[in-house]
Symmetry: C2
Subunit: 362 residues, 2 copies
Amino acid sequence: MATEIQTPIRFGIIGAADIARKLSRAITLAPNAVLSAVASRSLEKATQFAKANNFPPEAKVYGSYEALLDDPDIDAVYLPLPTALHVKWAVVVAQKKKHLLMEKPVALNAGEFDVIVKACEENGVQFMDGTMWVHHPRTAKMREFIADPERFGQLRTMHSCFSFAGDADFLKNDIRVKPDLDGLGSLGDAGWYGIRAILWANDYELPKTVVATPGPVLNEAGVILSCGGSLNWDDGRVATFSCSFLANLTMEITAAGTNGTLHVYDFIIPFKEKECSYIANTKCFFNDLVTGWEPLPSEHIVTTDLPQEVCMVREFSCLVGNIKNGSKPEQKWPIISRKTQLILDAVKTSIETGFAPVDIKW
Amino acid sequence: MATEIQTPIRFGIIGAADIARKLSRAITLAPNAVLSAVASRSLEKATQFAKANNFPPEAKVYGSYEALLDDPDIDAVYLPLPTALHVKWAVVVAQKKKHLLMEKPVALNAGEFDVIVKACEENGVQFMDGTMWVHHPRTAKMREFIADPERFGQLRTMHSCFSFAGDADFLKNDIRVKPDLDGLGSLGDAGWYGIRAILWANDYELPKTVVATPGPVLNEAGVILSCGGSLNWDDGRVATFSCSFLANLTMEITAAGTNGTLHVYDFIIPFKEKECSYIANTKCFFNDLVTGWEPLPSEHIVTTDLPQEVCMVREFSCLVGNIKNGSKPEQKWPIISRKTQLILDAVKTSIETGFAPVDIKW
């Protein structure tokens, strides 16, 4: 992160989606970012959004995305549009030399995402996807734990799941169940997080093979409502995930290494904003008579003044500030996004090919 | 359970294995059971075992299994022998009209187990396997939760894992890594529990299909050291499990229903003997800005005066007492054992056939 004090990065938001409310607040709270504009296809909607989300009085409202992108006083764009629109608008954002913070899944497939990355590279702009939890200070603490050869050792097996129960309206009308808007359904939405968690725990080492779990549920339009998969590496590491719009809110990571185990129950959205925890144990075993554990797992509490999405905006804005000061864009973020998308693609392919294993190639 | 006060059931233990120490204590603590004898192939070992495990002075020690089985003052036998010896000795136990409490896995395969069940049926003796956790009062509370259509709804997805890190001596010498003793390895040992948990959560409804997860680890003799699998039902329910001798102690159930979620971190051996908990949430969702959960999951504490293995011995002894009073053996226990074994067999078959799906037929 840049250490010097910088001029706040000026954000424009394209699309007045519900999820943009949270990011608007995050930009407001971030010490190095400012809300400069919002665009909707309806000027009235943009105006209402700006008013409802505490935009500063000098912020601009636009009735078209193009108008916002032509504004020279915007440094960066937050793009929460439906996935099917990502490639089109992300490329324009990059061509207009705006840095790009984009919601997940980043694209409908890795090929589309490569078009976005190419546009960002050619125009020297930063790309980052909107996976907030990886920016939480808890995630850094959990990383310290699983990277510790003594406390955790080598990862052997892990599982991640994220489900929430969409109501009747969601399952009928939400963009995430529409093949022409978010065609990856729960795999692209909920599954993105579990897959990212697996890659995160493996220090972003791609697996050798991915196979979908039999029994996915699709809606009438063929959009995935629930599915799962397993990833495996040559050294015997195995990870599984499940994702669903059809089961009560559940989100967890369990990662077992040779020496230690990490559990976290609320990895994507912590139960509470300013204080959360994870559970860790190292070299636990049973007592002599196998009637209890020694030692007991311990809960580790992490507090943060800045919500995770603010940490994300701060990190992104630092990178943008660095670029303004002559640095090159940070490549790790688009690389991590692409790896996540590759696994999503493989799960989808595996489902489409009767649960055949899919080799992962970068 | 029988409600009338009964004469304590007289237990004989065949094999002075380490695990038999725990059951000896349980029989001592159970209100309706008494330690009557122990047999080892070495009389000295049997004598030492009886002394070290607080057998009553009148208890007998035998230098052969046959001698114990010929003792008319023994009602029931606890059989902790290696799996490969189960069918041989279980049949003799039944033929000698002793009721049978046997360690898991119950057999090397369901065909062998059917021989045991047939012998028990022909001789009118009770069969129960030694899966202790299902007898814990916490398990009954968790059952109430997942059976509640309002609080939990219909099960949609679940995961269970059990791993522990065998040390170098374990991985070289333990009976559970020897093909001629416990040929099912970690699948038969650790996997038994995760598979049982899945069946338990599905009210013992067998899945339609089972498939092993790619990436099992086998030792040089071909014994499974770690593996996993997925089970699926026609209605879209999916469950996954993993089991391992190669990762730090980890044991969990996460079960997500349409309305609720159950988490438990220590389902097989609770962290502490007399007080344990599970975590449940019902109709959790995010707050308006998706920065926290509402309501929060809650921890439910269950206390017990009797450790779970004592509850198991008490239940088994009640059933034996009922039979002494004219009842028939309780069929549910061998049925549950057989279902568990069927899934184990299917996972093994799937591994052996390149991860092909295996249809489950009773």
